[in-house]
């Protein structure tokens, strides 16, 4: 018995080492802890797309994709442990769905030469490929998000926000503080006043913040929340009868789990998104045929089509396309991490290509280069319909205000360059 157990442990520690030929794209998921509800759906979408590629096309370029899953619980230490344990498995891309873990890994991936892909999260200035060689955050980042939200509001107000009051309710952490600088710049430019309302994690108790909103009557409320904070904020907004159509969340505050607890009160709530929603895309037919009906879906496919699931799927799509590009450039299907980085940098997902993938207009065209690791940063607005229980896209793609963002990105990446002592590339 002891011997059997010991051998089992030995086997476990060695872990199921994949055949070297397979493409390893680990799924840094969190299905436990305070953010499990969102993390689970994202991880399912991520897994299912690669399962689809394996089942339908036999992988990418004939190479099967493995997605060994590692539970991070949104905890930086566990995330680092996952990274170290997967390093031995020749991982091609690291995509942790956590800004905290991303910051841990940015210096590490540069030293270990692995691509870090953080769509819509992480360190915003990593858009600047000259400073961040190994990090990609296409198609959009937090500052894009802040700018797009303001642009949308400008549109709503006939081009002027002069004298308007905008409140920002944010998760009191690195993630939540991201948009502040951008919004401050934008408030100077467009003449609106910005009130910042921090909410400490986990954020179940937000009465003070919402009482203040009720008193101050801001015209619009923006939210950078995550986990239970989203649901609590939307509930409190409904409680004080804040007009929901004036309440806009970042994409991470735009999942079904965030609005459903508030029931009918959440009707009309808006959020940003950089991916399509719903299941009206041809890829879902294939997904149903090859993955869901054959019982291979992650967690029985209970979240297929949800907003966060779609985002996980989108991340997988971009990674798969980058690997395809890398194979093309390297001329061999067996690519390594360094070649995948080159694939990312040469990534060019056109509208036609998205349609070919069965996802027409699901995401914006992405064209990356040595200097641009972040794409164009477009985003759209989705609105929650509480009776139909679904998100509807209500705007077209909106471009961020590069005039404001570019200097900020340059400033922050310069700070990084100086701190890390690197020479910028791309000259």
């Amino acid at each position: 018995m002891t011997l059997r157990f010991a051998s089992l442990v030995a086997a476990a520690v060695m872990a199921a080492a994949p055949a070297m030929a397979d493409l390893v794209v680990p799924n840094y998921s969190y299905r436990t802890g305070p953010y499990a509800a969102n993390g689970t759906q994202y991880a399912d979408g991520f897994n299912d797309y690669f399962t689809l590629l394996n089942e339908r096309d036999g992988g990418i370029g004939g190479q099967k994709v493995l997605t060994p899953e590692c539970e991070t619980a949104y905890n930086t230490e566990k995330g680092v442990e996952c990274y170290e344990s997967l390093k031995g498995q020749n991982q091609l891309v690291v995509a942790p769905l956590s800004t905290g873990i991303t910051y841990q890994l940015i210096p590490k991936v540069s030293a270990d030469k692995v691509t870090l892909y953080t769509p819509g999260l992480g360190r915003t200035s990593s858009k600047n490929g000259a400073a961040f060689e190994w990090v990609f955050n296409a198609p959009a980042n937090y500052w894009d998000g802040a700018s797009v939200a303001i642009k949308y509001l400008l549109d709503q107000n006939g081009g002027s926000l002069e004298g308007k009051k905008i409140a920002l309710v944010y998760h009191n952490s690195a993630y939540g503080k991201e948009p502040i600088r951008t919004l401050q710049e934008l408030s100077k430019k467009h003449g609106f006043t910005l009130t910042e309302l921090p909410v400490d994690a986990p954020g179940q108790e937000q009465k003070s913040q919402w009482l203040q909103i009720r008193r101050d009557k801001p015209d619009y409320v923006l939210m950078w929340g995550w986990g239970v904070m989203n649901a609590a904020a939307i509930q409190e907004a409904a409680n004080i009868r804040f007009p929901m159509e004036n309440f806009i969340g970042i994409w991470w505050s735009g999942g079904e789990v965030d609005v459903e607890p508030a029931g009918a009160g959440a009707n009309g709530y808006k959020s940003l998104t950089f991916n399509g929603v719903g299941m009206d895309y041809p890829v879902y037919d294939d997904l149903k045929k090859h993955v869901i009906d054959t019982g291979k879906a992650s967690q029985d496919g209970q979240y297929v089509g949800s907003a966060v699931y779609s985002r996980g799927l989108y991340a997988a799509v971009v990674i798969a396309e980058a690997i395809r590009k890398a194979q093309e450039l390297a001329g061999t299907p067996e690519v390594n991490a360094e070649q995948v980085r080159a694939g990312f940098e040469a990534l060019d997902i056109t509208e036609a290509r998205m349609a070919e993938l069965g996802l027409p207009d699901f995401g914006q065209p992405i064209k990356l280069s040595c200097a641009n690791h972040g794409g164009d940063g477009h985003a759209r607005i989705q609105q929650w319909d509480a009776t139909a229980k679904k998100w509807t896209l209500i705007s077209d793609w909106i471009a961020p205000d590069a005039e404001v963002l570019d200097p900020l990105i340059a400033e922050d990446s310069e700070a990084y360059v100086k701190e890390a002592g690197i020479t910028p590339r791309c000259n």
Partner: protein, 358 residues
């Protein structure tokens, strides 16, 4: 038979008061140290060094510090996370302000700064006792986290409020930053852990330690026999915070390399270290290491067995892992309420009598 002394023939006080009275123990200890310093660095894999041994050693230092306060001084503290943050931020500020001074000096100075902060938050202990004292340290915990999150000076005005450790070298060898070899991290942490454990051992068996224990056992009685409670309690807070500050400093500089205050040094960290101390055994140096090992190694081990060995879904494995850890804590308590250290002590007692227990 082998594991015992043949009678009590000590002729000097030194022999009488040594840490390991049994020769076998002593040899075992030196052998362990030799293996830790001379063998492991050459054979350890990167994964084991960075994700298992380094966190284990750092948590052991933190647990040692907290054990001085809780186990020897009898003062409950739930502010460990906050004090670790002080150590981390002190290191960051110092090393960015004085890049030319050795990082090792900065780590120790960070410990001293944390000691000052700890003394400040230890003052209410003169008035408040027992579980109620936890409120003072909890106030420290939440206030410090809030402070580091709110005041941009602490994180050098970076956009997101994260702090990142720049590369530093000692004797030409990189010891912090992403390019650090795994074995160097391990050696740095091991050196600190061993010297601090040595310090703790010698403090706790000397006058200072005896004063702490007198206060712990009954403060009024201690006061009557001439122990100054102010001195004893505040010194316990200071020494404890010094250890915890060094742990926080290493945690940030050597282990993680970047940190966000609420996430890395939150209240969970305080609880985790307290659990280590209690599970390992209050008032025991060995217990601090055992408790840290239990709570660092067990989850990693279980994860590898359940996910890697049985191929279970990661979420199910994570939940079952929680259940197993919880059940084991309760099981150990029922078997031996005084922690792993007592279990070890009993084993040694039994060995001593073996094979003739009567």
């Amino acid at each position: 038979m082998i594991y015992r002394e043949a009678g009590d023939f000590k002729t000097t006080y030194q022999a009488d008061s040594q840490t390991f009275p049994l020769r076998l123990d002593r040899l075992g200890y030196y052998a362990l140290l030799a293996v830790a310093f001379l063998v492991i660095p050459f054979v350890v894999s990167d994964y084991w060094a960075t994700s298992v041994l380094v966190p284990f050693l750092i948590y052991a230092i933190a647990a040692l510090g907290l054990n001085i306060l809780v186990g020897y001084g009898g003062q409950v503290s739930l502010g460990t996370g906050g004090f670790m943050a002080v150590g981390a931020y002190a290191t960051y500020k110092l090393t960015t302000a004085f890049p030319d001074v050795s990082i090792l000096v900065h780590v120790i100075v960070s410990g001293l700064i944390t000691a000052l902060v700890g003394m400040l938050f230890g003052l209410p202990s003169l008035r408040i006792k027992g579980f109620y004292l936890a409120v003072a340290t909890l106030a420290a915990q939440f206030f410090l986290i809030w402070l580091f999150n709110k005041v941009p000076w602490f994180y050098n005005y970076s956009a997101s409020g994260q702090i990142t450790m720049p590369e530093r070298t000692v004797l030409g060898q990189i010891v912090t930053g992403p390019a650090t070899p795994a074995w160097v991290k391990y050696i740095v942490c091991l050196t600190f852990a061993v010297s601090l454990a040595w310090l703790a051992r010698n403090l706790t068996r000397g006058t200072v330690g005896r004063k702490w224990m007198a206060i712990r056992d009954m403060d009024i009685a201690a006061e009557i026999i001439g122990v100054n409670p102010l001195q004893a309690k505040i010194s316990a807070f200071a020494v404890s915070s010094f250890f915890v500050g060094i742990a926080g400093s290493l945690f940030f500089a050597v282990y993680l390399g970047a940190a966000e205050v609420g996430e890395s040094f939150g209240i969970n960290k305080s609880f985790l270290v307290l659990f280590m101390v209690i599970i390992g055994g209050l008032g025991s140096i060995f217990g601090s290491f055992a408790g840290a090992a239990f709570l660092v190694l067990l989850p990693v081990f279980l994860k590898n067995v359940l996910v890697g060995g049985f191929g279970w879904p990661t979420d199910l494995a994570a939940h079952i892992e929680l259940m197993i850890v919880g059940a084991l804590i309760v099981f150990f308590l029922i078997v031996e309420p005084h922690g792993l250290a007592q279990l070890w002590r009993l084993t040694k007692e039994k060995l001593r009598l073996w094979p003739f227990p009567h």
